[in-house]
Amino acid sequence: MRRAALLFAYSLKRVRTLAITTGLLLAALQLVLIFVAGSIQTSGGFNQLSALLPPFARQLLGPSVATFMSFSGVVCLGYFELAVMGALIALAVTLATTPASEVEIGFMDLILARPLARHWIITRTIALTTVVSAFMLALMMAGTWIGLRLFAPEGVEWPSATLINSLAVNLGLLTLCWGGVAMAIGAASRRRSVAGGAAGLLAFATFLLDYVARLWQPAEKIAWLSPFRYYNPFDLITGNALPLKNLVVLGGIALAGFAAAYVLFARRDISH
């Protein structure tokens, strides 16, 4: 346990620059979004923006369009903007494929030649992915809070803490879900690029599936296969509660990925 904690601390130290930089950028994005939302709100531009929205986008967003085209909606955008989701998932995939990277460069040989059980490698990676993802979301939420304090116009309605928490939790689980998938692939791979690339491609394909299914009815039949189906921020910003199903499915995929990683890594040959 002591050795596993040591390895975790070492891994955390190695990724600290990446994590802090990404976290600060995501937090800064929240500030920028709130600043922009405040400016639009002050100039009364939300009504005009709503009118400018093309019909297909209205269809895609449904009744939530009105809520989205508001100060509160733009503030929440920081939790489902494509670049934000992409950055979080990419970071999770990178961290989750740490074992593959260690096998690839040969560092795993030196670690496992010591009295350290293989399952600690996966436990360390799960802890690393979870802690760093939580840190990202914490920084984003801090960014939101600071941004609202600094840039929210007087009298404007803020998004509720419950809404922000729900978005963060749902987004966090989506991130962990992809971390779990990448970890399972990475636990059986000799190359981080292969594991990360496969997980990334899968994420992109399932994102497209979810997106297409929203526009094209036949794709709806298989859209349940996409993890992105279980992160529906528009439902949340229209006031619906965070569905338990989303949490169970995303958490379940993450746990299944972690379990698969334990089994695959325990059975594999370590060779680079």
Partner: protein, 299 residues
């Protein structure tokens, strides 16, 4: 209890047989050279000992513990030098040594590390540098320090002198002698025959995954043929009845050139009646024996 006991070890990769029914015992306090050409199965065997690879059949026991079933206990007292030091290049040498030391079961004696640094000429200033600035030789020296620093009962070294300059090789050989004198066992793979001849007590030679020779250096020397040149005071025709193990390589004016395997006594007796003026005996070359096994496999 043998520090290493390998029994019927086999490792297959699909149709490829990397290690085939290998059985070796290392003796406490010896330096056992593990020889073979590239792809002979040396590294595969070492990786099975460390439970990095899982054998298809057979088993390996280190210091009384099964490498697979009881791997953690087996690895409690091992120092390992991999063939390539795979370390993140953004770390400093000190960070590497500290991390690997803390992952060990035993406490690291700082004095021991300092001594190793001195012997391998690895100053503190080098330890403060990042690995990306290290040469191949420096990485190798760092690898040796991390393997030796916990003063383990068993050292498993994969091609330890690869990348070391001759002076450092010399320091390394002295280090080996020291650890051996302290009763530690060394299992080292190598394909540098002169090195093996110099430092090893015994050798295990593998060819295409199979053990073709397990012998002490003394026994091996007996197997090696000596070059014997005999000078006569007059031309002597080649005798028909040369003893077994003696073979004429060439004849010259007043001389014979022979290859003699085993003891020289029978040849000397055969020469008793001949007008021998002088004799030159060239020391047996182990390389010849080993190369023969490399080429032909089991004799």
């Amino acid at each position: 209890m043998a520090p290493i006991s390998i029994r019927g070890l086999t490792k297959r990769y699909g149709n490829v047989l990397a290690v085939n029914n290998l059985s070796i015992d290392a003796i406490q306090g010896e330096i056992l050279g593990f020889l073979g050409l590239n792809g002979a199965g040396k590294t595969t065997t070492i990786r099975i000992l460390l439970d990095l690879l899982r054998p298809s059949s057979g088993n390996a026991i280190i210091l009384g513990h099964d490498c697979q079933k009881d791997g953690l206990q087996a690895r409690l007292n091992i120092g390992y030098l991999p063939g390539e030091m795979g370390i993140y290049s953004d770390l400093t040498g000190r960070e590497v040594l500290d991390l690997l030391a803390r992952l060990n079961a035993q406490m690291i004696d700082k004095e021991r590390r300092r001594e190793l640094q001195e012997r391998l000429e690895f100053p503190e200033s080098d330890l403060r540098r990042r690995l990306r600035e290290y040469s191949t030789g420096m990485k190798r020296k760092l690898g040796l320090i991390q393997a030796f620093q916990s003063d383990p009962q068993l050292l498993i070294l994969d091609e330890p002198t690869e990348g070391l300059d001759p002076l450092m090789q010399e320091s390394f050989y002295k280090l080996l002698v020291d650890v051996k004198q302290r009763g530690r066992t060394v299992f080292m793979s190598s394909h540098v025959l002169s090195e093996v001849e110099r430092v090893c007590d015994r050798i295990a030679l593998v060819r295409k995954g199979e053990l073709v020779l397990l012998s002490s250096m003394e026994e091996l020397r007996k197997l090696a043929a000596r070059q014997v040149r005999i000078f006569f005071s007059e031309d002597v025709p080649v005798a028909a009845g040369l003893p077994q193990g003696s073979e004429i390589v060439e004849t010259g004016p007043h001389s014979w050139n022979l290859k003699v395997e085993g003891p020289l006594g029978p040849l000397l007796r055969a020469l008793e009646t001949l007008p021998v003026q002088d004799m030159e005996i060239e020391e047996a070359k182990l390389e010849d024996v080993i190369l023969k096994y490399y080429r032909d496999g089991k004799q």
